[in-house]
């Protein structure tokens, strides 16, 4: 695939930005617009851009893992986080929260099974979209 030098150079920066942005969207999702679905879609867009500029093979190498592995792993993470919610005796998929370093005035670092679940969603969306796009591009 031949693409112009400018595009190729620009994508390197753009892709990095998109990936950082996607994780930002994922993490802020609980309080502002964003979340796993949106984050995953943005992340996928980044890799697709990379694939367009540098070819599928390069994109796969950049991803390191097979996209379908990512999708299935995401599904597993989401499931584990849901099951973990049941450990204290609640129903499965109940959110459990831990506030690291919480003080009187500050809530500290909120850690939760909810966040893990959203990461799972992120990975599934990312993996699924990339599975489709890479397979189609290589096949066609």
């Amino acid at each position: 695939m031949t693409t112009s030098l400018i595009v190729r150079a620009a994508t390197r920066i753009l892709v990095g930005l998109l990936l950082v942005f996607s994780i930002y969207m994922l993490l802020r999702g609980h309080n502002e617009p964003g979340g796993g679905f949106i984050g995953g879609l943005i992340g996928a867009t980044g890799f697709i851009l990379y694939a367009i500029a540098h070819g599928c093979r390069a994109a796969r190498e950049a991803l390191r893992l097979e996209p379908q592995t990512i999708a299935v792993a995401g599904l597993g993470i989401a499931l584990v986080s849901g099951l973990a919610g049941a450990i204290p005796g609640d129903a499965i998929f109940t959110g459990q929260w831990l506030f690291l370093g919480a003080t009187e005035t500050d809530k500290g670092w909120p850690l939760s099974t909810i966040l893990v679940f959203d990461i799972g969603v992120y990975l599934v969306v990312l993996g699924a979209v990339l599975t489709l796009v890479f397979a189609l591009e290589e096949e066609v």
């Binding site: 309080n31 617009p33 979340g35 867009t45 998929f93 959110g95 969603v121 489709l132 096949e139």
Partner: protein
């Protein structure tokens, strides 16, 4: 039919022992209730089955059900004993035993169930198992066809019964027979209930004009015929009518429907019985006669009529089972069942002849057999009945013909000079003789000592009448009109017997209409189904889509027209320029997609629509949704662009023509959607769920983006399901692309 005499196994092996032991044990178990029930008590045993539906397996043992239960198990044991010889060597003997025991279970459940829904289930069990039994000789096309016929006719009746049961449940407020208080005759639902229940009973008990399946059911092996015809299957309908008599009986429509159909069936069937040459067929038609008689007398409904009907029930069960089993022995011993061939078997088969003659005398109603008692009481009840002339004439004609039929079946084949038969005549094996002989002797015993039969008849009649009935059975008391009528019957019957070969030839000119009619109906149904399939299942995607959408349009249109959907007037007042702009944007995109011939234009137009929709989401406070929509839109374009490279251009010829029908359907669906959506949005919203999410999102779930909190916390399980779908779709597509790689054509 594969019949072997040398089974090599005692009583047909384990399957045979079980098949005899189970009904015999049950028979004994039921016997112990006799004193209790005879004293007028009713026994109820109950187990919860489906508590949520109010279905319990309640056993209701009263006179009626006990009589039936004893007949079912008693005759059942004799029939299974008989089968050990008759079918013991058959390849599928175990299968036969299973069918027969299933059938017996169904029959027992049917007569013992207190709950109508349970009763219905057992009713269907008998239908299905009788299908299997009639079609037991499955290699024969005729057996299969006749089995199917029985299944469809009685199955249709079963559906009517189910509907009737539901209505009874509505009308009476309970499905338990023992809980139904009083009658339902005044209820507004009486007429439909009556019609449905009677339809069920008439199909099961083969009343004219639904009788045709019963003679065809002769395709079954002989023990099955004996069992089905004497004590069980066909008596199911009679049982139902008898059971429902206290609840539904006593009205004019009940009286006339049962009396007319019963009477016609009795006379019609007796005439057809004379017409047959196959003695098994003769007997089949006499069963119809007995069923008609029972239905008629239940319809008459006086105490005497019910007493007579219950007596006749016992009489008929004894002689009919005996005669059928005897025919099996004759068929077995001579290789034929033609009354024109069989002659002088007396010497070769003395035991069979004895059983046959005793049973036939009972059928003919000759003293001192139980049949005489039955016939006397029928006459006595008929002379007192409302519409007595019709009832008496019907029963007289039927009885006289029965006398002749008895002669054809059990006299003619045994007397005279021995005739040539396909097999050299020989007596049957012991297990095949026990049943017919025992039942025939029972007929004699009950005739000589009718007081013992009262044990069963009295509580049974009480259950049918819904109140105690005075029952006093006797063989002979005085010379009265009923007795004289009997004498005339004998004379007429004797003359008919002498004339029967000529009558038969005369009757042979009338071809049966019902059976070919059935075939035409079935052909019609099959042709109709094929035609319908041809119209709606063309294998063309477009046709399927069209039918689906057209159905949807029609259904919604009906609701709109009938005012079910409240459509408010559209108002344009609050629309601002940006709204109009988005509307035009989306409409233009949709229109362009629908009518363009260029793929690229279509993709661009689709993008326009997607972005327009995203704008709508932004305008109405849904940033998350809008972002998702935009991203998906981008990905869609990427995918389509990639695939398009490999696909051919849209073929302008096939699509540039406007398809008027499709367009009309599309526009009406669109218009209806708009109307429905307007109506939905005008209706008040139930916001309780939303209010809950808004109130708890921040304090409990620690999230300020409510949409995201719903997705990952409140409804996380749903979301998990959804991402699973996404993952599976992707893997599926991947497999489709990679897994099935083959050389391109």
């Amino acid at each position: 039919m594969a019949q072997t005499e040398q089974t090599g196994r005692f009583l047909g092996g384990p399957a045979g022992w079980v098949s005899v032991a189970v009904p015999a044990a049950l028979f004994v178990w039921f016997l112990q209730f006799l004193p209790q029930i005879g004293a007028g008590e009713v026994v109820r045993l109950s187990i919860d089955w489906v508590p949520s539906l109010g279905v319990s397996i309640g056993l209701l043992i009263d006179g009626l059900s006990l009589s039936f239960a004893l007949l079912i198990t008693g005759i059942g044991a004799l029939v299974t004993l008989y089968s050990t010889s008759y079918l013991g060597g058959h390849v599928h003997y175990s299968r036969f035993v299973i069918f027969l025991l299933a059938f017996m279970t169904g029959m027992l459940g049917l007569v013992l169930s207190d709950n109508l829904l349970a009763l219905f289930v057992f009713w269907e069990v008998t239908t299905i198992s009788s299908y299997l039994l009639i079609g037991f000789d499955a290699d024969a096309a005729k057996a299969r066809r006749n089995a199917l016929q029985a299944l469809l006719v009685t199955g249709t009746g079963g559906l009517a019964f189910l509907a009737g049961i539901v209505l009874i449940g509505v009308a009476a407020g309970t499905f338990d027979l023992s809980q139904i208080e009083g009658t339902l005759t005044e209820h507004p639902l009486y007429l439909p209930i009556f019609l449905l229940v009677v339809a069920a009973a008439f199909t099961k008990s083969a009343q004219v004009p639904l009788h045709f399946w019963l003679p065809n059911a002769m395709a079954a092996p002989t023990p099955v015929s004996a069992y089905l015809h004497s004590a069980t299957m066909v008596k199911g309908g009679v049982y139902l009518l008898a059971r429902m008599n206290p609840t539904l009986g006593g009205t004019d429509i009940w009286f006339w429907t049962l009396v007319i159909f019963g009477g016609v069936t009795a006379v019609f069937a007796s005439i057809l019985a004379i017409r047959q040459t196959d003695i098994k067929q003769v007997l089949a038609y006499t069963t119809l006669m007995a069923l008609g008689t029972l239905v008629m007398f239940i319809g008459v409904g006086t105490d005497k009529a019910i007493e007579a009907a219950m007596t006749f029930l016992l009489v008929h069960s004894f002689y009919k089972a005996s005669l059928f089993l005897m025919i099996g022995v004759v068929d077995h011993g001579t290789g034929t069942r033609e009354s024109t061939v069989l002659r002088g078997l007396w010497r070769a088969m003395p035991v069979t002849a004895l059983a046959a003659m005793l049973a036939a005398l009972s059928m003919a109603g000759v003293p001192p057999l139980f049949g005489f008692v039955g016939k006397e009481f029928l006459y006595k009840a008929s002379l007192d009945a409302p519409a007595w002339l019709w009832v008496t004439c019907a029963i007289f004609a039927a009885s006289a013909l029965m006398f002749a039929a008895g002669g054809i079946v059990a006299w003619r084949p045994f007397v005279g000079e021995l005739a040539e038969t396909p097999v050299k005549p020989h007596e049957g094996p012991l297990p095949m003789l026990v049943g017919p002989l025992l039942l025939a002797v029972l007929g004699l015993g009950a005739g000589l000592f009718p007081d013992y039969a009262e044990w069963l008849v009295r509580p049974a009649a009480a259950a049918v009448a819904g109140a105690p009935v005075e029952v006093d059975l006797y063989l002979f008391k005085e010379v009265n009109s009923a007795f004289l009528l009997s004498m005339v019957t004998f004379a007429t019957g004797f003359v008919l017997y002498l004339l029967h070969p000529r009558l038969r030839d005369g009757l042979a000119r009338f071809k049966p209409r019902f059976d070919p009619g059935w075939d035409r109906v079935m052909d019609g149904v099959a042709a109709g189904a094929a035609g319908l399939t041809g119209v709606i299942q063309t294998g063309q995607l477009r046709r399927y889509v069209f039918i689906t959408f057209a159905t949807l349009a029609i259904l919604v249109a009906i609701s709109v027209v009938r005012g079910r959907i409240d459509t408010p007037l559209a108002s344009f007042e609050d629309l601002r320029i940006k709204h109009w702009a988005v509307l035009l944007f989306i409409m233009a995109g949709a229109l362009l997609t629908a009518f363009t011939n260029s793929r690229m234009t279509a993709v661009a137009a689709l993008g326009t629509v997607g972005i327009g929709v995203a704008l709508v989401f932004i305008m109405f406070g849904a940033p998350d949704v809008a972002i998702t929509q935009l991203l998906v839109e981008v990905l869609q374009v990427v995918l389509v662009a990639v695939v398009m490279l490999k696909l051919p251009h849209l073929n302008p010829e096939s699509i540039s023509r406007v398809r008027p029908w499709d367009l009309a359907l599309a526009l009406s669906i669109g218009a209806l959607t708009t109307l429905v959506l307007l109506a939905v949005m005008a209706a008040p919203l139930d916001l309780r769920l939303t209010a809950f999410f808004e109130a708890t999102s921040a304090p409990i779930a620690y999230g300020r983006n409510i949409v995201n909190v719903i997705l990952v916390d409140f409804r996380a399980l749903d979301t998990f399901g959804e991402i699973a779908v996404v993952a599976v779709a992707a893997l599926g597509a991947f497999a489709l692309l990679r897994g099935t790689r083959r050389p391109s054509p």
